[in-house]
Symmetry: C2
């Protein structure tokens, strides 16, 4: 069993790093706050006498040896980076549940056959560097190391330069290796578990999803003397397209979602007709064909709206992953663990991408979810009742023990 | 007669200050580039032996005495600030036409009864500090000095601090004084003169116009696991409202225009449902009642679109001016001057606000326009055929001479 008080103290302490005035977290990947959280994490791993390695993507691992020196490890963990003004549970909870699991193994002097490794993946959110699950993406050969290094944030700062700056460009090669299983706990970020009153979700799969970037190039002109018919207003076209994109999911399938999360306008001046609008489109469904259809239709809406005002449009794919079905072996181990610790659990799927999704390509992976109050996340108000965090942590620790046994 | 070559050299030289790589101008009010242009302007005034004064708003005046020491001056000029990546003609041409007028008076040893004063007005564009015609606004008591000082740019920098920084916070009080007439030359910024093939416009009036700022507050949430029906997407509401606002003018009157020029989204992250969208709405017509109706309807569209997604909306007025009818005395002087120099001219109205609009409150004002190719302005591609600039300059110099005679 875990030590719920210690787990809580640890959660409170990490929550102070990059805390916002509204009890949220602002800890963008490779920012100073991320560096501080990483430093604390490394300290915590060293205090547990774990062998710490940092790979060339800044992923941080801590290894607790098992009794069989040849056995593949069980890998557990999540991410410490956050969204801009995000919540305290997203990612961090999963890292701290894994940390508490290792502490609990020590408390009880439990020896496992397999090594257990904890990991903090770099840039899971994809908010600052727009390629989510980046550290695990390179680790699983889904993303090229050089491409990851070359990503730039909104200010044009390169990923690799920031990694270097905060001192987390490690020496260890970031590439697939033999792993027995990967398990990750995360907040659900959706309303299902709360609606059903179930504290623990066993995640069987992840939606397929794609990120598009649309660029509309119109013509800057004066907001006053330019007649409406003589305009090529990039924002007017974008607004018309966004309005249609919001309506797409309802026409496609019950589980489909579409979101325009980022929009930048140029020159962004009150009395100038916008010359340029650039925005992202995030589309998701458990059904890959629906994602494909959403991509096609969203692109067509951008083209059509741009055509109507004589603007040029282009839509490019920033990122895309097919849907995932997690390992039934790991799901079953998690379900058995939930029973063993007497936690109510049920099977769900995830509309959010997670590092476990990529890990499933190179090992058997699965996830545990705990509820998100009102389904709210990527928001300072994100909240999970502490009892549910504890139920999740106990299930997680037990599942880890069993997988590593 | 003016010296067209000297006028052209002067135009080319000023165009280098804040030049963009596409032959545009990026010379935001109170920026370093604006300071450089002002320094050159002061040098040019001093070279003409004019008495230079700088007022507490940074408006720069140069005075050429007349023969009657008690006579009110004729004031001529425009503005040297530009839009972000704007054109080389907007504002600057009017200042340089006034400068050439003074040089030409000297060339020909012309003494006027009245003093002639040239002026460069501060922050006409209203792009960096969102209150256009700010220097002339304070000069004519339309804007409060302290309110002007307190304006902040998008980075939160105060107007008065920037004014101080660039060394243009003068001592002279900025307030109405007796002026015989104000005349300003400007590019039309619309297509009318070009369509009619007329090089010179005599501007009889200016549209009424208003700037609104709409703020929509929804709820940040995850773009994946959050079902469409559970969202309060501030950008989705903004897009729906903008789509309606673009359609408003067609329903209101033939001359009405409506523009959303600036839109800022928070947190502006690809996989986060936007919590906040803030945007400006610029509405104009020569008919003040139409402007009033456009304000009401645009506000109603913002409210309705926000209601549909359960978001909070507020719309506030940033700035508003009624339509203006310029002085027929000054218009007639300009028309007579056009005839005298053999320039084709016709009467037009202006959809853009200008410093002359405010000046008309404290004296008799009017304007001259020269054509804008394809009506394009607030754009690096802004262009006026040089022959038209010369026709405008000759008319302007002659009108000034007559007004000051
Ligand atoms: N959990 C999470 O926010 N992951 C980032 C990738 C995504 O947008 O789903
Ligand atoms: N000419 C000009 O762009 N003036 C600024 C005020 C306006 O937007 O009309």
């Amino acid at each position: 069993t875990i030590d719920a008080d210690r787990f809580r103290r640890s959660f409170e302490a990490y929550s102070e790093i990059g805390a916002t005035e509204n009890d949220g977290l602002h800890r963008l990947a490779l920012s100073d706050a991320d560096a501080t959280a990483r430093d604390r994490f490394v300290d915590d791993l060293q205090a547990l006498d774990l062998a710490v390695t940092i790979d060339e993507m800044g992923n941080v691992f801590g290894r607790r040896e098992g009794t069989d020196p040849d056995a593949d490890p069980v890998l557990i963990g999540s991410h410490l980076d956050s969204q801009p003004r995000g919540g305290r549970y997203d990612g961090q909870l999963g890292v701290l549940v894994a940390l508490e699991t290792l502490r609990a193994l020590d408390d009880h002097g439990i020896e496992t056959t397999r090594p257990v490794e904890i990991v903090n993946w770099t840039n899971e959110e994809g908010s600052r560097f727009e390629n989510p699950m980046l550290g695990s993406g390179v680790f699983t050969d889904n993303v090229d190391l050089e491409e990851a290094y070359d990503l730039r944030d909104g200010d044009g700062v390169r990923f690799v330069d920031e990694l270097e700056r905060i001192g987390y460009r490690g020496e260890t090669s970031c590439e697939p290796r033999s792993i027995h299983a990967f398990l990750e706990l995360h907040v659900e970020q959706g309303p299902t578990l709360e609606e059903r009153g179930t504290p623990v979700g066993i995640v069987e799969g992840v939606f397929g999803m794609a990120w598009l970037e649309a660029t509309i190039e119109g013509r800057a002109d004066h907001a006053g003397p330019t007649p409406m018919h003589a305009r090529s207003d990039a924002l007017a076209a974008a607004a018309a397209a966004i309005d249609e994109i919001e309506a797409l999911p309802g026409r496609l399938s019950e589980d489909a979602v579409a979101t325009v999360g980022r929009l930048d306008v140029e020159p962004n001046s009150v009395n100038v007709i916008p010359s340029r609008a650039e925005f992202t489109i995030d589309v998701r469904s458990y059904d890959d064909a629906t994602v494909e259809a959403a991509i096609d239709r969203a692109s067509a809406e951008v083209e059509a709206a741009s055509d109507r005002v004589g603007a040029d449009a282009s839509v490019s794919e920033l990122w895309r992953i097919p849907h995932t079905e997690f390992s039934s072996r790991v799901c079953d181990a998690a379900a058995t663990a939930a029973e063993a610790v007497d936690a109510d659990a049920e099977r769900v799927v995830s509309g959010a991408g997670h590092d476990a999704k990529y890990l499933n390509d190179v090992t058997d992976a699965a996830m545990l979810f705990v509820p998100s109050a009102d389904g709210i996340t990527h928001n300072e108000a994100e909240f999970t009742p502490w009892d549910d965090c504890v139920a999740g942590a106990r299930t997680f620790a037990e599942a880890t023990r069993r997988l590593a046994a």
